[in-house]
């Protein structure tokens, strides 16, 4: 087979995994984002909440996603009462298990990214919001999150990109997206460089589109990055 013929055939095989990757990423990042927000709210609400969320974040960030997917899919499937329960039709499907595991995992990371952003919100801006009588929620929605998200965007972009690649782990629960297909192809043809390079190019294209979109968003949200140098707003 010619080199080019092999590459194009590989490309056609791998591209079939793109829809799986994309649906897994978008749904898990979206669900995970909402969860992360909820976790952040709980974390700020009370000491016990803070403690619980910290524990959650700790466990989910502290163990490999591979193991989490494995335990959710195969682990729950082992338990008799889970198989009897109403959840089984849902947990029976690798697709939903993958989304559950990915969303739970990215929620922990996103909560952490958000915390970094929150640390960078100037205290003065928060005080100004408090004195005009904003409820916690309004304050979060209108003042804190816009500033925090702006600060957290670079880290958030990374998290989404990591998720794109993390979906490859779904292949251990029989969902074959781009990397999964690539590995199968590697173990069929043993042309690791060629296959992984094609896979790399596909991921690069997806992630390039993603990072570009985020970069645009970042510029949009950064009024101070107009060509003029930034000026301090306040101290203290």
């Amino acid at each position: 087979m010619t080199e080019f013929g092999f590459l194009s055939e590989t490309f056609l095989t791998l591209i079939e995994g793109v829809p799986v990757t994309l649906t897994l990423v978008t749904s898990s990042v979206a669900i995970g984002g909402v969860l992360a927000l909820a976790l952040t709210l709980v974390r700020r609400a009370s000491t016990i909440g803070n403690w619980l969320v910290s524990a959650y974040v700790f466990v989910l960030r502290g163990s490999p996603l591979l193991v989490q997917i494995f335990l959710i899919y195969y682990g729950l499937g082992q338990l008799g009462f889970v198989r009897q329960s109403f959840l089984w039709p849902f947990l029976r499907e690798p697709y939903w298990c993958a989304i559950t595991a990915l969303a739970l995992n990215t929620a922990a990371y996103q909560a952490e990214v958000l915390r970094g952003g929150l640390n960078a919100v100037p205290n003065g801006a928060i005080e100004a919001a408090r004195v005009c009588g904003m409820t916690r929620f309004t304050m979060l929605r209108r003042i804190i999150l816009p500033i925090a998200i702006r600060q957290a965007l670079p880290a958030y972009t990374s998290e989404v990109v990591i998720m794109v690649k993390a979906t490859s782990l779904a292949s251990i629960i029989t969902l074959f997206e781009v990397t999964g297909l690539a590995y199968s192809l590697v173990s069929e043809t043993f042309r690791a460089f060629e296959v992984l390079s094609v896979a790399g190019a596909i991921y690069l294209a997806m992630n390039y589109a993603l990072t570009t979109a985020f970069a645009v968003l970042e510029r949009r949200l950064t009024p101070q990055s107009l060509p003029v140098p930034q000026r301090p707003i306040s101290v203290a």
Partner: protein, 275 residues
């Protein structure tokens, strides 16, 4: 500018209790890391009262002002706004507000101008001003914008309405902060050195704004280092020293015949440079 002075003098005679109390602090104490910054401050202000708060740097003026909307939690003492005493409770982690909704309601009735402005850096000046009216007081957007523009015009920065805070000069930021505080029609206004970044012309204009507000019956506490301004604007003056109110009364009395030795000394340095 004597008419204003006379207007206030007349009101000053009223005495403290003739009008309903809008703001009151009762024996407020506050420490930071073991150092007592407020050592029992009590103060009342009624409708249309303009109280000037003077005192040397570090005497606790900002802290006192910040205690009213509970930006600092007083260690003890009571705070009441518009007749409503803010409920507190003791927890293991110290004193806390008992009822968050009450605190928000109370804050919604106040306007605050920070010493360091604290404009929201991610919003334009206009957005800064309409933020609270729309999102806290749930008013119509169009109406809020019209009013905000009128306010910005009044303080002379309407042409900067679409600029971000970082693009403004110090005085322009301070005026934006004043406009933001006025936009919610608060019952009481708390100003922390509202003219520190303003030139004399603008100080005069702010003076006029504050007088007009007083005539509408709004209550104001103003921390300031400009003695002329303090005298012109207020119908009552308070001298704070090391966390205590050392002198209190109509401006004529506080500025011309202070009883406290410390107050006299404080004012001397000012008077010395007036001539």
């Amino acid at each position: 500018m004597t008419p204003g002075r006379e207007y206030f003098a007349a009101r000053g005679l009223r005495g403290k209790t003739s009008v309903p109390t809008v703001l009151s602090l009762n024996d407020v104490h506050k420490s930071f890391g073991g150092i007592e910054v407020l050592r029992g401050v009590s103060l009342e202000a009624g409708d249309g009262d303009v109280v000037a708060i003077i005192g040397s740097s570090g005497s606790g003026k900002s802290t006192m002002l910040r205690c009213i909307p509970l930006l600092e939690m007083p260690d003890s003492g009571e705070i009441a706004v518009a007749g409503e005493t803010i409920a507190m409770r003791e927890t293991r982690h110290g004193r806390r507000a008992a009822d968050d909704a009450q605190v928000q309601r109370v804050r919604g009735r106040l306007g605050f101008v920070f010493q360091s402005f604290n404009l929201w850096s991610h919003m334009t000046i206009l957005e800064n001003v309409i933020e609270a009216p729309i999102h806290v007081h749930k008013r119509q957007r169009a109406e809020c914008i019209a009013e905000a523009e009128a306010l910005l015009d009044k303080v002379g920065i309407v042409e900067k309405r679409n600029a971000y805070p970082a693009e403004l000069s110090g005085g322009q930021q301070q005026r934006a902060a004043i406009a933001r505080a006025l936009a919610t029609h608060p019952r009481a206004l708390l100003f922390d050195e509202p003219t520190s970044a303003l030139d004399p012309e603008l100080v005069g204009e702010v003076l006029l704004v504050i007088r007009a507000l007083a005539e509408e019956g709004r209550t104001m506490l103003i921390v300031t280092h400009e003695m002329n301004f303090a005298r012109d604007v207020s119908n009552r003056a308070v001298f704070l020293h090391q966390g205590r109110i050392e002198e209190e009364g109509p401006p004529e009395q506080v500025f011309e015949q202070p009883v406290s030795e410390r107050c006299r000394q404080f004012l001397t340095s000012h008077l010395a440079r007036r001539g």
